[in-house]
Subunit: 209 residues, 2 copies
Amino acid sequence: MTDEQLTKVDTNRREVLFKTGETIFKSSGIQTHFICIQRGTVKVYLEDGKDKNILLRIAKPNEIISGPGFLVDHRHYLTATALEETTTCFVNVEDIKEVMRSNPEFSMELVKHQNEKIIRYFEKILSLTHKQTHGKIAESLLYLADHVYNNDFFETPLNRKDLADMSAMTKESAIRVLKEFEAEGIIIAGNHRFKILNKEMLRRISRTG
Amino acid sequence: MTDEQLTKVDTNRREVLFKTGETIFKSSGIQTHFICIQRGTVKVYLEDGKDKNILLRIAKPNEIISGPGFLVDHRHYLTATALEETTTCFVNVEDIKEVMRSNPEFSMELVKHQNEKIIRYFEKILSLTHKQTHGKIAESLLYLADHVYNNDFFETPLNRKDLADMSAMTKESAIRVLKEFEAEGIIIAGNHRFKILNKEMLRRISRTG
DNA sequence: AAAAAAGGATGATATATATCAATGTACTTC
DNA sequence: GAAGTACATTGATATATATCATCCTTTTTT
């Protein structure tokens, strides 16, 4: 079961359009809906209140953006911002609860889905704490190529600070690593445009950190 | 609902005794059971295959140790090791699934429980990536005092490497910070014995990093 | 009780990354 | 098209932490 199936939950959902840069929901806010994306991309990140964010995920069409406040305290712990013009639909959490009560398979899919995310958070924790800048940038580029754009050549609205936020480092450090990767013929890094030239090398750098 | 309620799920569970240092389950292994603790304590950590672990949690009596492989691929992504002689009971994941199918409220509690963990993982990610050594050690000491031992003076089987693993740093760095905290009169750090003298100061250090 | 092993601690040095300031380029607004 | 703003980049320096080796203390084993 994919996010698409969760999307089908809500027969009376409402559509909302967000412009580039607009915040869909904000950390510490009240969580009333899950958001599913119809068109566009969204960056989902942890804020620490000091402009030192951790970008956890780029959400794409047919994906759901929820959050761990569900059933806990109904607060947002993540911030979601439209990277480009994005069409979303809002799914009321009360509807989610209703379906959970009447459809046990749905709940099991939800738990499974949460666990898949937890696995990724574990990878993130290990990566961000143990790898150095080259390993982390390599991992971020591979994530974008393999899981977001499905292409070793991709255009993206992400800027250098976004890449830095994905890799737990400052913008200047991220730029230096990208420049070194270019100098070594591993990638081409343009403005909002990347091409991976030596994927094997990138994977190796990503593994060893 | 607490872990205790989850524990009651299994009427035909089996008890297992682990000696100090024994591994209850190992990352990459097959997950067949959830573990609930009856007596003793367990450290639950992420392994990266290079003795650079991240210790996520100290599990206590009446707490459950599960893992995100449940319903995904049934593999372990965490390692659990007994910190002292520990009595556990094993709850078969098939039984968990059965209860989920027949008891929607149970599933909702499970989702809630997982979300509580996700919130803590988010805090961990922000803490370990943005704070410096003093902030991280302060946070680890507060976690032990407030969430594990419920006392500002506690004895613990944890050693310096364990504290370092909780704080994503090397053993030597952890020792240096503990020594500085002692020199500043913030704590007393003995072997397997800690006393927090200035909790406000520790909190402040923990917040600012 | 003695020996061995494990853990705590220290000092010196190397390395990685942040910080800061400044410049150049690209994009947006008027 | 010009002005203003945002972003990318660079260089120099400061700071934080890892690494390495060694020694001391505590705990475990014989």
